[in-house]
């Protein structure tokens, strides 16, 4: 859906999406890194289970909700990636107390 510009010379950062290593770039938000990864990163909603991807990328739509380093319901479009970050795609209602 998206590709990286050839001009982008930022250093690589390795994150893990549902346990799989994915190359991101320093300064990417989690949502941008997920969309750039080419993987199926659709979450499913807590209401009907419908698949969703980020819609606004600016912190207002909450369609980018994702579990980051064990903390759920985070807005992936507002969080920068960090080396070794563990991302889980949320399916349905988010489990608590795990």
């Amino acid at each position: 859906m998206f590709k990286r510009s050839e001009l982008d010379k930022r250093p690589q950062v390795e994150i893990f999406v549902d346990g799989v290593a994915v190359a991101a770039r320093q300064g990417d938000t989690v949502s941008a890194a997920l969309l750039a990864s080419g993987r199926d990163v659709r979450r499913s909603t807590a209401v009907s289970g419908a698949p969703r991807l980020p819609y606004c990328m600016m912190g207002v739509c909450f369609d980018c909700l994702v579990t980051i380093d064990g903390v759920g319901n985070r807005q992936g479009c507002l969080v920068p990636v960090a080396e070794g970050m563990q991302i889980e795609i949320q399916k349905g209602k988010r489990e608590i107390g795990k």
Partner: protein, 472 residues
């Protein structure tokens, strides 16, 4: 990682580091007021100057001169004494000017003598059939990814809607080697005539020449279809096609990515939660705060600057930020105001920056069928409530957005109505033959952004609690 505000109280707290907030904070600090700037994003710039200090797109021509203007604002801010905290999400503001802010998963409270809200705008909801499908995004989303990560569309891409941002985005995508297959222009034909009376002001505004050359640049490379009157996205769990009607003829085109845009509207959540009075703006078709000439709101001590005060664009936002900050300085440290640009000069600057706005507002006033959906089209993305659901509730007695909550969970999800509020107001107004002003808006409450229970549980105890423990 946690960097709480250094003080418990400030003269001025500015919320949002876009054009208005950057200018306001620098101005306030320059006058010697203790100033805190809180911003939710990774770096300063807001949406228009997104990633200004970190973008990988360093070839200046690609993002354009208007973008790089933001670098000067950031430089001025950094040269000032203002305390700046990024990734700081303000989740509460009340009429006592007490601010609850989440920074690095810990919450803190700060008090202000003056608050300048510079929380900007968000893209108007574009509730067409299929707009919740993966692969449908806002044009602003694509622009955010382009500016902050150098990402451009590379599948079959359709851009649909109207407004200056749409053409700017298209030009930027093309300059970076991205792919656009079609642009579907939804501008209503009648708007061209309606906008004519404002054309002279527009022709002499800075928008005109820039806008024209950008449209030429895009039209040379992309097929543009004008006069689009219907639009729908379709696919099974993922966008597969976009269908539209233009000139009475329906077409369906395969697509991997659909970017929607029909203008921007003030981001009202924090201001409304603080109790600031808003009115329905009939021209811009959105809620705008009731403000005086200096941006002062109905809540004592709270001013609003930038697009959150009513859409005016980045240049106007900068000036409004300076005006609001100057007004704060005049109130708190009148002697220091002499150091700043005179109010009369600022007002002249603002009038200049706002020239041409009426033309744009009229020309790009979005069509009714793209604002007020029908049938199974989802209105509330969070709670998955359709237009029909809302009309059914109206039929059995729901009179406004708050009464609707007795029937449906519209607006009660995490986005707190940001993506459905305008639609719900206009839909109910139409169904009940009332004006949007009469129908009203959701009563918004803190936290305007969710916080975890653990984070709230960890906030500092009140002084009384501490005393109670000490006295044991």
């Amino acid at each position: 990682m946690t960097m709480a505000p250094k003080r418990e109280a400030y003269d001025v707290v500015v919320i949002g580091a876009g054009p208005a907030g950057l200018a306001a904070a620098a101005t306030s600090a320059e006058a010697g007021l203790s100033t805190l700037l809180l911003d939710e994003n990774i770096g300063p710039g807001g949406q228009v100057f997104r990633a200004i200090a970190s973008t990988p797109v360093t070839e200046r021509a690609q993002l354009g001169a208007d973008y790089w203007m933001g670098a000067d604002l950031v430089q001025a801010l950094r040269a000032s004494s203002a305390e700046v905290i990024q990734r700081a999400t303000v989740w509460s503001l009340d009429r006592n000017l007490e601010i609850g802010v989440s920074i690095g998963s810990a919450s803190a409270f700060a008090r202000a003598r003056r608050v300048i809200l510079a929380t900007g705008a968000l893209e108007r909801p574009f509730p067409i059939p299929g707009w919740t499908l993966p692969g449908v995004m806002t044009a602003g989303a694509a622009q955010t990814m382009l500016k902050s990560s150098g990402l451009v569309p590379d599948g079959r891409t359709v851009i649909a809607g109207q407004g200056p941002l749409l053409w700017l985005l298209a030009a930027q995508i093309l300059r970076l080697g991205g792919r656009i297959d079609h642009i579907l222009d939804t501008t209503e034909r009648g708007n061209y005539f309606a906008a004519l009376p404002h054309a002279l002001a527009f022709l002499t505004s800075p928008y005109f020449a820039k806008g024209l050359s950008m449209m030429r640049e895009v039209r040379a490379k992309v097929q543009v279809i004008s006069g689009v009157t219907e639009l729908a996205a379709a696919g099974d769990g993922q966008l597969a096609s976009v269908s539209y009607v233009a000139g009475g003829k329906r077409e369906t085109i395969p697509a991997d990515l659909l970017l929607l845009h029909q203008g921007v509207v003030p981001n009202v959540n924090l201001a409304m939660a603080a109790g600031v009075e808003h009115r329905w703006d009939e021209l811009q078709l959105c809620w705008s705060p009731v403000l005086d000439a200096s941006g002062t709101s109905s809540v004592a001590g709270i001013a609003i600057a930038g697009d959150g005060a009513g859409i005016g664009g980045a240049t106007a936002a900068v000036v409004r930020g300076r005006i609001a900050a100057r007004a704060a300085v005049e109130a708190l440290a009148p002697a220091a105001a002499a150091k700043l640009a005179p109010m009369a000069t600022l007002r002249t600057d603002l009038a200049k920056a706002e020239r041409g706005r009426a033309f744009l507002d009229t020309l790009f006033r979005p069509a009714k069928q793209f604002r007020i959906p029908a049938g199974d089209t989802i209105v509330c993305r969070c709670e998955e409530v359709t237009a029909k659901d809302i009309l059914d509730a109206v039929a059995i007695g729901a009179t406004g957005p708050n009464q609707l909550k007795a029937y449906r969970r519209t607006g009660m999800g995490p986005c707190q109505g940001r993506l459905c509020g305008l639609t719900v107001t206009e839909l109910m107004a139409q169904a009940r033959a009332k004006s949007p002003q009469e129908i009203g808006y959701y009563r918004l409450r803190a936290p305007v952004k969710p916080i975890t229970l653990a984070e709230l549980a960890a906030v500092p105890k009140s002084e009384d609690d501490v005393k109670a423990v000490v006295r044991g």
